[in-house]
Amino acid sequence: MRYIPHTEDDVRRMLARSGHARLEDLFAPIPAPLRLARALKVPEARSEQEVFEHLAALAAKNEHAFAGPFFLGAGTYAHYLPSAVDALVSRAEFTTSYTPYQPEISQGTLQAIFEWQTLISTLTGLEVANASMYDGASATAEAALMAMRITRRHKVALAAGLHPHYRQVIETYLDGLGASVVTVPLAEDGRSPIPASAIDADTACCIVQQPSFFGTVEDLRSGAETVHARGALLVVSVAEALSLALLEAPGALGADIVCGEAQSFGVPMSFGGPHLGFLVARAAHVRQLPGRLVGQTVDAEGRRGFVLTLSAREQHIRRERATSNICTNQGLCLLMATIYLALLGRHGLRELAELNLAKAEYAKARVRATPGLSLPCSAPTFNEFVIGLERPAAAALARARGQGVVAGLDLAPYAPALGSAVLFCVTELASRESIDRALGVLAGAGS
């Protein structure tokens, strides 16, 4: 076996030294009735080439974002991945290390996490960020739990514009804890303004997605006022992190916790994971933050270095009283995002966000001008918006796929009230020609 170095001679010598006659004797502590008396029903070992070919055949059966025009977003976004990101994260010193428990030989990982904490804190406008959560959905669920701990309240209000999967994950996480969940309804313009009636003295937080699942940009400032007036917290969940480059930082608008998904920052879509959950809060709430944190310190000779810190919040110290059970996080995805943000930088990231906006606005203008298509939500949007169709969306999308175009998400399972509608995402990957083509097919051209 190519991954195992032992020769038969090694095995003999090692058994002799450890005082075992045969390999089987090593397993003597396992009572005989519990031992497997047969071989596992797993196919025989294959060479590298055979495994490669098998996986390549499976990969070839999947639709993907680089095969043609692709307008599917809805929480997972197709962006261009700069070459340096994968080249650098592929370095074995990053890939094949683990949680930096031993800081003297983990400074690379620790400094990168510190840089990520700084970057995401700058983008969200809040002070303390952790070293990642599993994904946007679980980060948002952890934010709800954190708000419940801070306020000692048990009700969570969810904006209708929150990603339906995020809502489901929050409901799963809260189920055993006696919490209740209420919904802030969707307004005509596609936003979820928070009415005072949605928040009461038992509300821990209201969670608003920015931009919403429907692509609309919420008015966070007035939402924050409403929520704070009742002593609750405003949690802002961001599924398209690139929007942070263009929209006012949620922390500057009154958000108490900003969480979400940073897959857009250089992390491959990978059929939904591994992605990059993030969670950022006010410094005053740092001891309620879940997950790992990296802090700056000095070594025995006074030189700057970084360590995991404030671990008294965590499961390996506090066990059942920990702020979360999270242990392994999404470290390498955090590194991808840190490298991506370093490459794009202060100006590149903004330009990229403006390009996304410009292309989406072009597409919206085309929709307005195309008979058979409409824009049911009037609120401003970033790179994603809802298109109303006169004909059934499922059939239109299938027809588009027949022409090699992935023309968005059928909203029927998620928002039946919108009627026949498609969630259409336009990133920098979309050319003007491909936008024209996709909208043409959705409108029924060539059918």
Binding site: M1, R2, Y3, I4, P5, H6, S18, H20, L23, L26, L34, F52, K61, H64, A78, P82, A87, L88, A92, F94, T95, T96, S97, Y98, P103, I105, T109, E115, Q117, H165, D175, E248, S270, G272, G273, G295, T297, D299, G305, V307, T309, Q315, R321, N325, N329, Q330, G331, L332, L335, I339, L343, G345, R346, H347, G348, L357, A358, K359, L409, E428
Partner: protein, 496 residues
């Protein structure tokens, strides 16, 4: 003795933000092929002014920066990384390559099932392989890590009891368990009751029986446990729990000892998670991502998370979103799929025989190291171990040298230290898991080094206590970091 490492190129590197110079850039955005937009007009007060605070660096800066940072890390590809209960085995390069195929890496989770049949087929096949390896009936691939798997497993247990009209309140957790176990139980609203291990380091039926009643929802057990010992009373213990209506949760963190040897499903375990980043070689990535599939017996199948893949009569695959008793959705999409692809490639590469060989060699390596070290190091629980062994610093008590010092001194010799001060039931624990990836020569050099450090602890304790000496940074002040938390860079820090 030959050294495992010597001084080489050692680079200094500031923070990204300190490298920043106005006007530099590391990426260009393509020219627009659509009319420009007026951001202020479109978004008004919703727009932000600027991204001040983000760095301005060239691509060369970025590549040098992160390449230099990487040289400050220990890694499996550099050498032995014997972190106990973390299974830092070799991560095959093939797995990295296949996970990057566009049909996997650029696939979208919301593409309709009929257009991602290759991925659904992989899910289905991997579920079946993991069910066979663990001896369980059904598998969910959704949990993103072991701890999320535990959370899912305990949720399913809670749903099971509730479906039977029972509201149980407690979960039993052995005192040797990982901290995630009690934390996962608490996240389900359960009271955690610690069960003491016996003098021989394993769980005894009498202790479980004494704690067991009709209020106990489950016992969580790690087998082999964190002392590297097989819980040999597990079948009897499972019967005790089942007789009072409870279920048994298996923490699969240490499954690398059992592949093809024994199966948790044959020991009375009702639900367990597996850590693909441990047993199935997906890389640890400096802290993640991992993946924590959960396998269950049929009695918990009605409570599995949704969605899951089903195979239709015509051989095609589909998602099933509905299940009346489901605990719901745990992940925003389908879990850490990139890790699933890697683990699948790994299992296919090894085959049944290779999987068994992994466990045999992992266990042989741990026992060999133990045999070499036992004459000098205190072994709190002697005997044949499974995939890892636990030592302590008791024999150095009179020198002032602690486990922390031994760990730091190992670094001077080019080794990542073992897990230290865990399990909590062994004061000054050194928990060593060599994995099957390490050759006899590597183990001998490592054992020689530990023995040398032991001698040094007696002859020159100050050198051990002030280690590491040969690293870029000396021992770091963790107390200062916690007392005055600095959790992000701010411009005025540069002046310090």
């Amino acid at each position: 003795m030959s050294r495992n490492a010597s001084s080489g190129l050692g680079y200094e590197e500031p923070l990204l933000f300190e490298r920043s110079r106005p006007g530099r850039r590391g990426a260009e955005v393509p020219p627009p092929d659509v009319p420009p937009v007026d951001v202020a007009k479109l978004l008004g007060p919703l727009a932000r002014a600027d991204l001040a605070g983000l760095p301005e660096v060239s691509e060369v800066d970025v590549v040098r920066h992160f390449t230099r940072l990487s040289t400050w890390n220990a890694a499996v590809d550099l050498g032995l990384y014997p972190l106990g209960s973390c299974t830092m085995k070799y991560n095959p390069k093939l797995n990295e390559r296949v996970a990057r195929m566009p049909g996997f890496a650029a696939a979208h989770p919301l593409s309709p099932a009929e257009h991602v049949q290759g991925l659904l087929a992989l899910f289905h096949a991997l579920e079946q392989l993991l069910a066979e390896i663990s001896g369980m009936d059904r598998v969910t691939l959704q949990p993103a890590a072991g701890a999320q798997g535990e959370l899912a497993g305990i949720m399913m247990i809670r749903a099971y009891h509730e479906a039977r009209g029972e509201k149980r309140t407690r979960v039993l957790v052995p005192d040797s368990a990982h901290g995630t176990n009690p934390a996962s139980a608490a996240l389900n609203g359960y009271e955690v009751v610690s069960v003491a291990s016996g003098a021989d380091g394993i769980l005894h039926p009498a202790a479980v029986a004494a704690a067991m009643d009709e209020q106990v929802a489950a016992l969580m057990v790690t087998n082999p446990n964190t002392l590297g010992l097989f819980e040999r009373h597990i079948a009897e213990i499972s019967e005790i729990v089942h007789a009072r209506g409870g279920l048994v949760y298996g923490d699969g963190a240490n499954l690398n000892a059992l592949l093809g040897i024994a199966r948790p499903g044959d020991m009375g375990i009702d639900v367990m998670h597996m850590n693909l980043h441990k047993t199935f070689s997906t890389p640890h990535g400096g802290g993640g991502p991992g993946a924590g599939p959960v396998a269950v017996k049929e009695l918990l199948a009605p409570h599995l998370p949704v969605p899951f893949v089903v195979r239709r009569a015509d051989g095609t695959f589909a998602w099933q979103d509905e299940l009346p008793g489901t605990i719901g959705r745990l992940h925003g999409q389908h879990g850490n799929v990139g890790m699933l692809v890697r683990a699948y490639a790994y299992i296919l590469s090894l085959g049944a025989e290779g999987l068994r060989r992994c466990s045999e060699m992992a266990v042989l390596n741990a026992n060999y190291l133990l045999a070499r070290l036992a004459p000098v190091f205190h072994v709190p629980y002697p005997g044949t171990v499974m995939h890892e062994c636990v030592l302590s610093d008791r024999n150095f008590a009179d020198t002032g040298v602690t486990t922390m010092d031994v760990a730091k001194r190992l670094i001077d010799h080019g080794y990542h230290p073992p897990t230290i001060y865990f399990p909590l039931i062994v004061p000054g624990a050194l928990m060593i898991e060599p994995t099957e990836s390490e050759s006899l020569e590597v183990l001998d050099r490592f054992a020689d080094t530990l023995l040398e450090i032991a001698a040094e602890a007696h002859g020159d304790p100050d050198t051990v206590r002030s280690a590491p000496h040969r690293t870029r940074l000396r021992r770091l002040d963790e107390t200062l970091a916690a007392r005055k938390p600095v959790l992000r860079w701010q411009p005025d820090d540069a002046a310090r």
